[in-house]
Symmetry: C2
Subunit: 137 residues, 2 copies
DNA sequence: TTCTCTGCAAACGCTTTGCACGGAT
DNA sequence: ATCCGTGCAAAGCGTTTGCAGAGAA
């Protein structure tokens, strides 16, 4: 948790008005490494904000992604995941339990051929397989 | 194009019966670098096979992916793309024209930290941005 | 016949949109 | 009074499924 005041400041710095829903959603996202889906965010915050709708979560996430306060991950055919860590790193999704894990990787050191003349905005590295817990059971 | 006979042999070697639809779909996939979607495959083959349904394309692609004759790419929120090249390489999607390009990359040389104990099945490297043609217009 | 392949239509799941209410400025 | 955030319900879109007819063995 970054602290509510800092969360509000982050929103303000991107010219996003800090409404209750936005603050709580961003605060939750910054304080977890769960890579939550819209469904997970909604389920998590509903006890605190009983009127919160999924529509609001969708719209808020769109705002946060556009403002580069969150990363949108489409790892497979199922729902989108969100990551409050916008720095360069890779993602691993377990095929059995569905959990998403971060891992460190030096994307700048990656040598590629065939991208001469391309302007690269975004780099995504997605691995999948089985996580340690699911490997051993 | 690999040639119809080789296409049939590829299917047979994976114990997939070489029906007309399957042969044509795989043959098209092997002969293009377009990374077609289901819609694109259907549109392309409909003139040759006027009765072809999208359901058949979906089911055939599922078979081919399971048999490792094709790769399934979920690059973003829109439709899935397919790649007949199942070797290791990266994919770049242009944000403007939507085209998907292959590029070479040495995924084995990639150093990662935080994946100790994980069993890795699949590695996907997705870049996005603007392709040379869209850069200059 | 028996088994598989195919195609239509409906169902499905995630996401987006239209619209109206409500709160803040 | 105006603007913006929110929530409901419906629509949208890619994909999957149920089932029946067609076709191969």
């Amino acid at each position: 948790m970054a602290g509510i005041k800092q969360t509000i400041e982050m929103l303000r710095s991107k010219n996003i008005r800090p409404s209750m829903a936005r603050i709580r959603i961003l605060d939750y996202l910054l304080g977890t490494t769960d890579h939550p889906t819209v469904e997970m965010i909604h389920r998590k915050l509903l006890p605190e904000i009983p009127t919160l709708s999924k529509t609001t979560v969708y719209k808020t996430m769109e705002l946060l992604v556009e403002a580069d306060l969150a990363r949108l991950l489409h790892m497979d055919e199922s729902e989108a995941h969100f990551d409050g860590n916008v720095g360069d790193h890779g993602h691993f999704k377990c095929k059995r339990c569905g959990q998403v894990f971060d891992f460190e990787v030096d994307l700048d050191a990656l040598k590629t051929r065939g991208l001469e003349g391309f302007s690269i905005d975004e780099k995504n590295l997605f691995f999948s397989g089985f996580c340690p817990r699911c490997c051993s059971s």
